[in-house]
């Protein structure tokens, strides 16, 4: 997943450096305040650990071997900010000294793995482990999920970065200047490898190390377990099948339901959303006048722009304009779409929950 | 009677609920060369770190040159810099102390942190390298140094500050015989220089050369003290505190058996 030089245009690289910079800055400030003098030895030694662990050949189910990145265990032990810096440092050394990953693309690699990876891993771990005792099995599962998710999010970001290259950067003859594959190829190609191999490797490393730490050095897990129940508490060991604490997120669900009810308010907005015009809107005279009216009367491009025309037909939504065609009532259509969308997400969460619980029961 | 450098009164220190030191009271005078004897885990390293102001006593008082040695005092930069210059600690594991990219940088680290001017630093580094015969290692990275070389660089990195008090944790541990004897020569050479030297060791053979006074520790307590001849002659004490060992060996006469001994006693 380490992106070498030459795959991303300088513009993309610059944008990703610029996006990473505030995270680095905030991380450094927060860490300096909290750790003060201990910052340097802790980060250096941990970055060295991450670097070395990246070289381990981990055997995966199915007979393959894979490499982990270590960002999830780093987040779990050090917390997200220190992890951001430690992994960035390891990536820097890999890139500059060992040529693993590019120098112009270092910003991108840090953003995908060190920053997004650390944050996703940390929040997933916290969300799934809740207030469990440090020694509970649930934390091991939480670490595994955090590892898997963080790597796949990082891979998805990389895939998106690759995928937009041919869209934006071509030479005069139309040949792609950088990564040559559009999103519809880049995303499945990247995700295939990570959903199966790299994600599992990371999951195993994170879960395995947390289990090992629970045995030998439980104090190392306490930094990211504020308010963890004391070891004697039976709450977490006897936790019923749901891995996600449904009780805890009841207020969230109530809030979501309220929001759902209010979605039809969107119809009150006059005209179409600014910037969300279709080729049809830009071809129709009446619509064009409306657009000009809300755009400070700037001149519109004559006709429909080429790019818009070409790209708008790539994907046709199942429910265009948020209303299935058979419904007459617009507000009901809005509400239904919102419910459908949130329902899909909740369904995915429940499915994940069930799968993990089933594995825990059998494992 | 020379002024006391360190005075400890009923000092205790625990680490993760394990009592590393209990009720330690002792005095170390200026210019004295003291050996801390005891098996591994008897509290010698902890005591050295207490003396170096890295750990602070949970109870009891520690005094350095008649002033209290507490965490609060180290907040004052002037005191801290002065202390760090006057007291140096050589750790048991040199890798812990060699964290800079090259030997030159390592020696320069201490003076740099104490804000010496760059020219003085360069001068002193060169001189210290020459003094310890490691000038040829100036640009070497630590991973390309042998065990003995690492030890010498570690010692050099502390000596460059010209401390009046030197604390050494197992100075001859894990060294090959030649490096061991070089280190012992170095320590012996500090006799009568006015430097206060405190060495924690369980290498009984070298104690007489490097120390004028011994403190014996067992399980975090100070159990005996006295000049080397007295302490080393007390076989009972040595056996009790784990400093003596017994294993099969041969005498010059050809007899093979096992009994408690120290290796230079094979005349009989």
């Amino acid at each position: 997943m380490h992106i070498p030089d030459g795959y991303l245009s300088p513009a993309t690289c610059a944008v990703l450096y610029a996006t990473s910079a505030p995270f680095w800055y905030v991380a450094l400030r927060r860490l300096k305040r909290r750790l003060a003098t201990k910052l340097i030895p802790l980060l250096s030694v941990f970055a060295a650990f991450a670097f070395v662990v990246m070289m381990f050949n981990l055997p995966l189910p199915g007979g393959t071997t894979g490499h982990a990145v270590g960002v999830s265990i780093s987040s779990i032990v050090l917390g997200p900010w220190a992890s951001i810096l430690a992994i960035s440092i390891a990536l820097f050394i890999q890139a500059v000294f060992f040529g693993d990953g590019g120098i112009t693309s270092l910003g991108a690699n840090c953003f995908n793995m060190a920053i997004a990876g650390s944050l996703v891993a940390y929040f997933t771990y916290r969300a799934v482990s809740g207030k469990c005792a440090i020694g509970s099995r649930r934390r091991v599962v939480a670490a595994g999920v955090a590892g898997y998710l963080s790597i796949n999010v990082a891979a998805l970001l990389a895939a998106l970065e690759f995928g937009i290259q041919p869209l934006l950067f071509r030479d005069a003859a139309g040949a792609p200047l950088y990564a040559p594959y559009p999103l519809k190829i880049a995303v499945p190609a990247m995700m295939a490898g990570h959903l199966t191999v790299a994600g599992i490797a990371e999951m195993l490393l994170a879960a395995g190390l947390v289990a090992w730490l629970q045995h030998s050095h439980p104090s190392l897990l306490s930094a990211t377990a504020p308010g963890a129940a004391p070891p004697r508490s039976r709450d977490c060991e006897e936790a019923v099948a749901p891995v996600i604490a449904w009780r805890a997120i009841r207020p969230l669900l109530a809030g979501l339901a309220a929001l759902l009810l209010f979605t039809p308010l969107g119809i009150l907005a006059v005209g179409s959303a600014w910037g969300e015009w279709s080729p049809h809107d830009l071809a129709d005279q009446a619509a064009r006048r409306q657009i000009a009216a809300v755009s400070a009367h700037r001149a519109l491009p004559p006709g429909v722009p080429q790019g818009l025309d070409r790209l708008s037909s790539i994907w046709t939504a199942p429910f265009p304009a948020y209303a299935p065609r058979f419904l007459r009532n617009q507000s009901f259509g809005y509400f239904l779409s919102a419910a459908f969308g949130s329902g899909l997400i909740l369904l995915a969460a429940v499915a994940l929950d069930w799968v993990l619980a089933a594995r825990r029961r059998s494992g | 009677m020379p002024p006391p450098v360190f005075e400890l009164e009923d000092v205790s220190y625990s680490y993760e609920r394990v009592a590393a030191l209990q009720g330690i009271s002792l005095t170390i005078a200026a210019g004295q060369r003291v050996a801390l004897l005891g098996a591994n885990g008897s509290g010698k390293s902890t005591l050295l770190r207490l003396l170096d102001g890295l750990y602070f006593a949970a109870s009891g008082t520690v005094r350095f040159c008649a002033g209290p040695l507490t965490e609060e005092r180290f907040q004052d930069e002037t005191f801290a810099f002065d202390f760090r210059r006057r007291v140096g600690l050589v750790f048991q594991n040199p890798d812990v102390q060699l964290f800079n990219p090259t030997v030159f940088d390592e020696l320069a680290f201490g003076p740099l942190q104490l804000r010496w001017p760059p020219d003085l630093i360069r001068q002193r580094v060169t001189r210290t390298l020459d003094d310890l015969n490691i000038a040829h290692l100036k640009d070497r990275p630590p991973h390309r140094l042998s065990g003995g070389e690492r030890k010498r660089v570690a010692i050099a990195s502390v000596l460059i500050l010209d401390p009046q008090v030197l604390l050494l944790d197992e100075p001859t541990a894990a060294l090959d015989p030649r490096s061991q004897s070089q280190t012992i020569d170095l320590l012996a050479g500090w006799k009568d220089t006015g430097r206060t030297v405190v060495s924690a060791t369980h290498d009984l053979d070298s104690v007489e050369e490097i120390a004028d006074y011994c403190l014996v520790f067992e399980a975090g307590r100070l159990v005996a003290q006295g000049p080397p001849a007295a302490v080393l002659g007390d076989d009972d004490l040595l056996r009790r505190t784990g400093l003596l060992h017994a294993h099969r060996h041969a005498h010059a006469s050809g007899e093979v058996h096992s009994h408690p001994h120290r290796h230079h006693d094979h005349t009989s």
């Binding site: 030089d5 003098t37 381990f56 190829i185 | 760059p118």
Partner: protein, 272 residues
């Protein structure tokens, strides 16, 4: 009996790192053109060339920078064989594999047809693949050359010229140092396991071995961090670090800096 992949594979990667380190230390000591330049000049110059290569829209410019890199390598006594093994072969295999499907998948003007499968190669696909491969090779060669001809400690200190904060420079130096120490520890653990092994390691045991090794390394890591912290404090560290400025620009260095700037600017302009 097939050697076990966890142990063998991990050891191979770990030892590879050590080899790279030794090799680059050896090359950095030779007295070639690049070795004698001020590290800051090299850093800025090479960065300029890398950016120019990344930004170029013309293959000729990329080729020219590559040729220049080869000349610099030869003038610095870096054997081309080393570059071949360290950079070119690997990058070509990896990126070549990635670029291969692009020959057929990029829409455009067809120029060739595969005999058996009938897949069509487009001109745009071909050009795209060439862009990618040439860019990757050139930038990789540039960054490798910079590091092969400069001691690591100097590369780090030169970063100060880019306004990298001192705390990061010091941390990077310590990280590099402790990478080598951690590798030695990991190596020892794997080799001791290998010497005690009879027969193949089942996947489950392999996982446990990897986890145990990583776990022991992790606890050693945390222990080390605590000890190093004490050692730093013992020599006066209180949170702010300082480094010694040891680079002095000589007249030749200014000349080379100007040359690098001119070349990078030319490449940027012509590649536009």
């Amino acid at each position: 009996m097939r050697p076990n992949r966890v142990i063998e594979g991990s050891l191979r990667s770990l030892l590879g790192v050590i080899e790279r380190t030794l090799e680059s230390e050896e090359l950095a000591r030779r007295s070639g053109v690049l070795q004698r330049l001020d590290p800051r000049v090299k850093l800025l110059g090479f960065l300029g060339l890398i950016v120019a290569t990344a930004a170029s829209r013309r293959l000729e410019v990329i080729a020219a920078v590559f040729a220049l890199t080869l000349v610099l390598a030869m003038l610095s006594q870096v054997p081309l064989g080393t570059l071949l093994i360290r950079v070119w072969a690997g990058a070509f295999a990896f990126t070549g594999l990635i670029a291969l499907p692009a020959l057929f998948l990029t829409p455009g003007r067809p120029v060739a047809r595969l005999p058996l499968l009938g897949w069509v190669v487009t001109a745009q696909g071909f050009r795209g693949a060439v862009y990618l491969i040439s860019r990757v090779e050139t930038t990789a060669t540039l960054s490798m050359l910079l590091v092969l001809c400069t001691p690591w400690a100097h590369v780090l200190k030169a970063l100060r010229v880019l306004r990298v904060p001192v705390v990061l420079v010091v941390t990077l130096g310590m990280t590099y140092r402790y990478i080598l120490l951690t590798i030695a520890a990991a190596e020892e653990m794997f080799e001791s396991r290998r010497s005690r092994m009879v027969g193949r390691l089942a996947a489950k045991d392999g996982r446990r071995l990897a986890m145990a090794t990583a776990g022991v390394l992790l606890s050693k890591t945390m222990q080390l961090s605590g000890d190093v912290y004490l050692a730093m404090q013992s020599r006066g560290f209180r949170g702010e670090v300082y480094v010694l400025d040891e680079f002095r620009m000589r007249p030749g260095d200014w000349g080379w800096l100007a040359l690098f700037c001119a070349l990078a600017a030319a490449a940027l302009w012509m590649g536009h």
